[in-house]
Amino acid sequence: MRSCWPAAVLMPVTCFLAASSPSSNESIFREQILPVLQANCATCHAVANPASDFSIKTFDDILRGGKHGPAITPGKSDESLLVQYVRGEKTPKMPMGGALPDAAITSLAAAIDRMQPAQNQAAARDAYLDWVLHAPKPPAIPGVKRKEWVKNPVDAFILSKLEEKGLEPAPTANRRALLRRVYFDLIGLPPSPEEIEHFINDPSADAYEKVVDKLLADRRYGERWARHWLDLVRYAETDGFAIDSERPTAWRYRDYVIRAFNDDKPYNLFVKEQLAGDELTGKQFSAEKRSERLVALGFLRMGPWEADANFRTQLRQDFLNEVTSTTASMFLGLTVGCARCHNHKYDPIPQRDFYRMQAFFAATKIDERAAAFMEVEHPDELKRLRRKCEDEAEPASGSLKKLEERLKQNYIEAKHLKPDDKTAGDFQKALKDAKDPIYTAEERQAWQESKDLARKLNEAIPRYSPVAYSAADVTPPDVPAVADTYVLAGGELAAKGEKVEPGFLECITGTREPAKIPYSDDGSGRRLVLAEWIASPENPLASRVMVNRLWQYHFGDGIIRTPSDVGKNGDRPSNPELLDWLAVQFLEKKWSIKAVHKLMLTSNAYQQSAESPEAKRYAEIDPNNRLLWRMNWIRLEAEVVRDSILALSGRLQSCDGGPGVFLNIPADVAEGFEFFKWFPSDEQEQLRRTIYTFQRRSVVMPMMEVFDGANMSESCARRNITTVAPQAFSLLNSEFTNTEAKYFAGRVMKLAGNDAERQIDEAFRLALGRAPTVEETGKARALFVHSDARDALTRLAVVLFNLNEFIYLE
């Protein structure tokens, strides 16, 4: 939520505004009504009871009321149910079997009369739901005064809102800023000085469009945009929880997502493959397609998994809950998960609908499925690597075994045991106990090293196995019937209520009828029905939610700033017509994500400068730049910072997927775990883009953590953007920055020769895409006074990597 607000200084002002309403309805309730209710009504109404469904817990509860409607009508005591019940005007008179003193009733009524009457909020909210829950119709493209500014209809929608408020869009960004913006946006890496030079000097009318096309076709585009999707699916390569076991082939899902973006896989197919890839694998499909779709289905398993849970039925229920909630928030932008325990508090989603949606997953079981490597995955290379791992692991295991036999023998001798004594197995305990005199420190170390080597090599083998981390359905004849789904009171397994059939959300379809599930020969067919409904043009949410996400990644803020909650409690769209127009375009362009990128990127709205000459005045009218009278500033994410530094040092290794690489991570983060050990990969392999690094839930790379990396346990619709001192420590002092700065210095010296001024010039051009000013060169020269050129350039590199100009895109 953070980036959209002007940061630190503005915030306290806004909030203080909000604080200065001393006798809000809420505080009247809290001070004058709640004590009476707590004293007299809490026995039955402390929480909602089944008879009345009415709770006095919070002011919201009171306003929502129970079965009979809101308990209080602010400002109108006579119309308030609460008063009617305690007065005995409605039966049963409350409190049940008793009565409040008259004085208490009078003061309750007086307190309600003192409240501010509500202002037709309910009606306004419902109008919003009516819009969002109905399929978008193509809106008319609005007319505008400044027609020449309109490059495509996106601009007409933006400009018409600006003109309504008397605002002018900002001038077009300068070419350097624009090129950096679109490079970081699409491929997550900086343009080279030559690319900038070329763009600045390209006089052709379609110079910019050519760049957009080139970048959309660049394979690094998929590496950049897959990361957004992985944030949403809470991608990780381990289970989380205490054991945090590895998912050796989860990387295939990551590569699937990268390919899907690069190949511009139609979004409706992308959805279907991830929810029901297995049910799309009839005999008519090739083995390649089958592998692809079983890998895509890994989506269902991306959440955390408590492998050692005692209560397996609960574990399964947790899995179903997780999949249901994530599917709804990702694809529909609805917080259906809130209806797990009770009816949704804001949106018209009854608890029943959570379980009706869950019923689509009722037959699903987790499964590691055989799935031959596809050509794009380089099967021969993977086979070769697997063999190499096996060849190396075998002797390592052998020598560990030999070593342990010898050490055991020592133990037997030292303890004077018989060779077959069962306690001989305790020799490992003695090895682990540094104080035990049986073994020397050298022996202990040799054992540890041998053990680690064998473990490291053996662990690597399954990463190259032709297996999909996937799911399957359990259906007849393996089981008598697909498991039934029940509404669970309070979300508790033991509290089974009404039995439900798979069905779509009533608030969208208007019906409670179960979905029709056709016969499928590879599963229950249920998930495919759900996926087809989600990805159908009739669904009002799938396309809106996805184009809104794309908009957010390009512009910094979504048209709705809560991209995974477009319900009542979410943000209101800044430009609903634009959102509808884009959603309809998305369908017309056959769910092509690249087509939508192009619409957004080639708009004038996107190409505006982040600075407006009218900033001061406009900030009073639209402080959060919701109407886009300028481009938003964008701060680079953690991965982009790391990848860019590697690109600048000249060491970034291109890579075509495969198992994740293990970075060097400080011991206090990576060590001390009982069930796994962290073995860094070879240095050369570590130079890959961050998306290819191994994602262990319990070992987060420190730089990712301080720079608001995605939480690997919950779907992350939007990265936080925070600014804290530890970020400075990481970027100034970490081994990573300083190592790459040294390589950067070397690269600069090679390119610029020995002249300090030329070196400084080159360093600025590489890192910032511009030459330094005379003043800047002068300042930078200070570093060369007490150090040799390489050291000075290393320090200069560290400074450049830390500049606001490097981290922020104007």
């Binding site: 909000a18 002011f59 600075e611 400075a728 003043e775 500049l803």
Partner: protein, 473 residues
């Protein structure tokens, strides 16, 4: 443009950026805050505070009240008998009572301590010597019986993620006194971090400046605090000078983006922290006697002891809010609760008592609020099927917590549970009431400490809490 001019223009822009609604008193506070250009500058509280700092001792997993501070002789009487839960259908955890359950007496002996005659079990022999300085509340109720949600509620007031932590709210309300140290310090146990890790001390929708900073108690206190060894202080100065200069020029061209200044401030803070943190955390300066007192010489108490000592040094140096955590789910005694609680009590009893005594010796006790609390209490019974490894399950309806120092009335006992210790029956309070009490002692009114987010005034206490009056004297 010179720096001062840029700053003023920037400030002006920020202040007028609210649509001309910046009025009177509203401006005052923020002019003051903005003129120091530091969101963490000390701020005037709502009323005269009793405590300047807070140390929150988080007992993850949930402590059993009937084994620690809420003795129930009735449990001895009915030990091993079948519980009748037929009247408890409408519980928040119906699954819990679906199978037969047996009453489980406490394995620990209770004794009365201090002038006030407070009951403490043998699990906390050293804390027991401090009871005249502590106030116990036996009637706290939680809203969720699930760990992840309950930890969120304990830390942020809400069971769903995304809200600011209490440390973030307090520093947002009050700023901090020592700008060279983080305002809100978190001392987790690195054996096992709380669920959701850093989200527990995050700033939620508040500006990031209020998020907690984790200090490590092994190795370097803050990662990458210092540059590589070949960078001499002289070189580092040059480097910082250049960074400052280039950023300043950039700021003057782009003063409408307040984040640029915010990020420059963060670098200045980092630079000052680098100088100050090592000294503050240098436990070698402490006497042997002090280290002994905190149990740092003993591997059982070392982890919590060292962090308690760090907490004392932090408040001594003006840190506003310090939060300690036991390992994730450490007190979660579903099986062998006696063994579990014995282990956890052994790790924390001596360090906590040492902290109280040390703060008193140094005259810091009155200005430091201590709070000891878990995410919920535990049941007085156990599942019948696992009697040989009897444990207690989660109980949202009763939990004992305690306060000390910071204006708390020592020797106070608030609230009571039923004969079994299952449910609070007198003076029940909720977790938001605990939060309201913390804010109150620190000079903040929970109703007035608001932040506008997504169309609504948000609070730590949501619709408001009740200050637990009897403990605040």
């Amino acid at each position: 443009m010179n720096f001062e001019l840029a700053r003023r223009r920037f400030l002006y822009q920020s202040l007028t950026g609210v649509g001309g609604l910046a009025l009177g008193e509203l401006l005052n506070r923020d002019l003051k805050a903005a003129s120091t250009e530091n969101p963490l500058a000390p701020r005037k509280p709502h009323h005269t505070p009793k405590a300047k700092s807070c140390i929150f001792l988080t007992m993850l997993g949930g402590v059993s009240q009937v084994d620690t501070f809420d003795p129930k002789p009735t449990l001895d009487k009915f030990d091993n008998t079948l519980m009748d839960w037929s009247k408890e259908r409408n519980t928040d955890q119906p699954g819990l009572f679906a199978k037969p359950r047996l009453v489980l007496k406490s394995a620990f002996k209770f004794q009365k301590y201090g002038q006030c005659g407070m009951d403490v079990s043998e699990l906390f022999p050293q804390v027991a010597t401090c009871v005249d300085d502590m106030a116990f509340v036996r009637s706290i109720q939680a809203e969720s019986g699930n760990h992840p949600a309950a930890v969120f509620q304990l830390d942020t007031g809400f069971v769903m993620p995304g809200h600011p932590s209490m440390g973030a709210w307090v520093t947002y309300g009050l700023g901090t006194e020592n700008q060279n140290l983080p305002a809100f310090v978190v001392l987790p146990d690195f054996r096992s971090l709380p669920f959701s890790g850093s989200q527990q001390w995050g700033s939620g929708f508040l500006p990031a400046s209020y998020q907690g900073t984790v200090l490590r108690w092994k190795g370097e206190a803050i990662r990458d605090l210092k540059p590589p060894s070949e960078v001499t202080p002289q070189i580092q100065n040059q480097e910082m000078e250049l960074l400052r200069g280039l950023n300043q020029e950039y700021l003057e061209k782009h003063f409408t983006n307040p984040e640029l200044q915010g990020r420059m401030n963060a670098y200045e803070l980092a630079y000052r922290m680098q100088a100050e943190v090592p000294g503050v955390l240098d436990l070698a300066k402490e006497s042997e006697a002090t280290k002994q007192m905190y149990g740092m010489n003993n591997s059982v108490t070392e982890s919590f002891g060292k962090r308690c000592l760090m907490a004392r040094r932090m408040v001594e140096h003006g840190v506003r809010f310090v939060q300690l955590y036991t390992p994730s789910q450490s007190w979660d005694g579903h099986t062998d609760v006696a063994k579990n609680h014995e282990k956890n009590a052994r790790e924390t009893d001596q360090p906590i008592a040492a902290l109280i005594k040390d703060l008193k010796q140094r005259g810091l006790f009155d200005s430091t609020l201590l709070v000891w609390m878990g995410e919920f209490g535990r049941t007085p019974d156990c599942p019948a099927e696992n009697r040989e490894h009897a444990g207690r399950d989660h109980n949202t309806r009763a939990m004992t917590i305690w306060f000390a120092g910071g204006g708390i009335k020592g020797g106070t006992l608030v609230g009571a549970t039923d004969d079994l210790g299952f449910k609070a029956v007198h003076d029940a309070y909720r977790i938001r009431d605990v939060h309201a009490t913390i804010l109150h002692q620190m000079g903040l009114s929970d109703l007035d400490l608001t932040y506008y987010n997504a169309g609504r005034n948000m609070r730590l206490t949501d619709t408001g809490g009740r200050v637990i009056r009897p403990v605040v004297g």
